[in-house]
């Protein structure tokens, strides 16, 4: 386990990277926005007022209004909740599911390992988005199904990394020692393997969250995500597309929000990776 001095060293390493700090600040800002959405937005995000439709940015509405007269700024503020909620929940699902698969495969080895890893390979033959589209197609739209679809699509990514880490840690002396002392496999996994998997998991999570956000946005854009009228950045871009030549801001602004959070998470993720696991340095 990391000691306090070790943690301080990691934090210093992270803080030295300016881009990572900027990324963390933007992510923090979006988190605060999501948490205080009711206080920050002046209007109800789904309240329609046809008399005020398609107003341009400025003049009473900072970011303008859409074709139903809904306040764009309020919708973007509230949309951050859905984006972050779906991304966090689906990555949690992927990380927990992937850890179970990875630990089982790596620790048990043999036939179970073979079967599980072959299954993961097959799932990885489908790109994340295509797998998620398939699952949503079958399950139907909605927040819970969206989380499930993106979560399941992330299981193999986590499963592979965790298995690799387990295979690396398993032959180490302290694990042998625990076994020699009579520790049960469950105890070895929970007390000895998992704490040592944390670094790899955190790196992986920080790199996959942005992919999850893009998946959610893409699914919502395709009409397979959060059903209307709830504001989601992806569906806002899709709704705005209908009026692209008249009111380009309706599509451009929510897209900019997606790009900003993904950019921030990418910068943050690179920083976390470099601080925690220099061996993973590279660009993929």
């Amino acid at each position: 386990m990391a000691t306090t001095t070790h943690r301080v060293r990691l934090l210093r390493k992270f803080l030295r990277r300016r881009s990572a700090v900027i990324g963390a600040a933007i992510v923090g800002l979006v988190l605060v926005t999501a948490a205080f959405a009711p206080l920050l937005s002046r209007r109800d995000p789904i309240e329609q007022d046809l008399a005020l439709r398609m107003r341009g940015p400025g003049g009473g509405f900072v970011l303008g209004t859409d074709d139903l007269g809904r306040d764009q700024l309020s919708r973007i503020i509230w949309g951050s909740r859905i984006t972050l909620l779906v991304a966090a929940a689906s990555i949690a699902f992927g990380a927990v599911g992937g850890s179970i698969v990875g630990v089982a495969a790596g620790y048990a080895g043999g036939r179970l390992d073979n079967t599980l890893m072959r299954a993961m390979d097959i799932m990885m033959a489908f790109p994340t988005l295509l797998l998620a589209v398939t699952l949503v197609a079958v399950l139907g739209p909605g927040v819970a199904n969206l989380v499930l679809a993106i979560g399941v699509a992330n299981v193999p990514q986590f499963g592979r990394i965790v298995r690799g880490e387990v295979l690396r840690i398993k032959p180490m002396e302290f694990v042998d020692g625990a076994r020699a002392l009579g520790a049960s496999p469950i105890r070895i996994v929970l007390r000895h393997l998992l704490p040592n998997l944390c670094a790899a998991l955190i790196v992986m999570i920080s790199l996959r969250v942005s992919v999850a956000i893009l998946s959610e946005a893409s699914l919502s854009f395709l009409g397979l995500g959060v059903p209307p009228p709830a504001p989601s950045w992806g569906s806002m871009v899709a709704e705005g597309q209908k009026h692209l030549f008249l009111a380009p801001w309706l599509s451009i602004l929510p897209g900019l929000a997606i790009m900003l959070i993904v950019l921030a998470l990418n910068l943050l993720g690179d920083g976390v990776r470099d601080a925690l696991d220099p061996s993973l340095r590279g660009d993929r």
Binding site: R118, A119, D121, I122, M123, A125, F126, P127, T128, L129, L130, V133, T134, L135, V136, A137, V138, L139, G140, S210, L214, A217, S218, F221, L222, G223, L224, G234, V237, A238, Q241, L244, F245, P248, S251, I252, G255, I258, M259, L260, V262, L263, N266, L267, G282, D283, R284
Partner: protein, 317 residues
């Protein structure tokens, strides 16, 4: 090329395809409600029970699941993917005309990615820590973060509306190559730019790594021209990781066509898939996903072969 290596790769390829076919079968059957509800729709309650039973039997839905599965695999092997619930045409016939626009899009996207990404990345590496390097890397990070559907919309707005030089929606006249190519430009840039960014980053780090190796220094020390060192010695060795990324990325490109074709209303497989999902036309959904999965598995196989061609060490591992 070592034949044993190819056979070995091929043997891995077969269970993966079988697995993908099985996965698609299972997932589609997870759908709530029976296909009969979709076929009959609102008429279900007024249809005589015998008629319902006959339809159920004609689709083989009265059989136990393993029988349905065996029949599905046997038919799929013969190229029979069932019938569309929307218009009763064979699924393969529904899909066939959409294959070409999707393949064109994926390969054009790849072309954009390689033609822009690799030279940009190599240039950034060779001019490390200069304006070129920072410029390329900043663009790459920004591009990687932009959702492809949003980029598509920006392209439509700028090049279809503000400076109307290119057609915006549709796929052009089928069979008329110049027309098809004109309609391909914007979607190809939209789908390829993210991959270009990824390739630029990868090419940069791969080139930097190779340029620091002893054999490059040796090549320089023996007086070879800078260009020869870069093109004949360094880049050839930097190619391996780049090919990996291209292989991985082609799979991403194929998946990405779903979004891009929807934005540009291109008559490809991706748009067909989304339309089929909206119509709950499960046989077509199943067929589309199967074709996508097969395409991606074949691409992965070809990437492995490309490895072996590029690096003799791979063949003997």
């Amino acid at each position: 090329m070592n034949a044993a290596y190819l056979v070995r790769r091929f043997l891995v390829f077969v269970p993966t395809i079988t697995g993908a076919v099985t996965l698609v079968f299972i997932v589609i059957r997870l759908a709530p409600g029976s296909p009969i509800d979709i076929i009959l729709g609102d008429f279900k309650d007024v249809t005589p029970r015998e008629t319902v039973a006959r339809i159920v039997a004609s689709y083989g839905l009265d059989q136990p699941l393993h029988v349905q599965y065996a029949r599905y695999v046997e038919r799929a092997l013969r190229g029979d993917l069932g019938f569309s619930l929307m218009n009763d045409r064979p699924v393969l016939q529904v899909l066939a005309p959409h294959l070409r626009p999707t393949l064109m899009l994926a390969f054009a996207g790849l072309l954009v990615a390689v033609a822009i990404g690799v030279p940009a990345g190599v240039a950034a590496a060779l001019r490390r820590n200069t304006g070129t390097d920072y410029g390329v890397m900043t663009f790459a990070v920004l591009w990687l973060s932009a959702p492809s559907f949003w980029l598509s919309i920006l392209l439509v707005y700028v090049f279809g509306y503000l400076v109307p030089v290119l057609p915006m929606f549709g796929g052009g006249t089928t069979g008329d190559l110049p027309s098809e190519l004109r309609y391909l430009v914007l979607p190809a840039i939209a789908i390829g730019s993210r991959s270009a960014a990824l390739l630029a980053r990868m090419s940069r780090s791969s080139t930097l790594e190779i340029m620091a190796q002893d054999f490059v220094r040796t090549a320089r020390a023996k007086g070879l021209a800078g260009r020869v060192v870069v093109y004949k010695h360094a880049l050839r060795n930097a190619a391996m990781p780049i090919v990996t990324v291209i292989g991985l990325d082609l799979a991403y490109l194929v998946g990405g066509t779903v979004v891009i074709e929807t934005v540009f209303a291109r008559p490809g497989l991706g748009k067909t898939l989304i339309d089929a999902i909206n119509n709950r036309d499960y046989p077509v959904v199943q067929g589309c996903i199967l074709v996508f999965a097969l395409g991606i598995i074949v691409v992965n196989f070809l990437t492995d072969v490309a490895y072996a061609l590029l690096d003799p060490r791979v063949r003997f591992d």
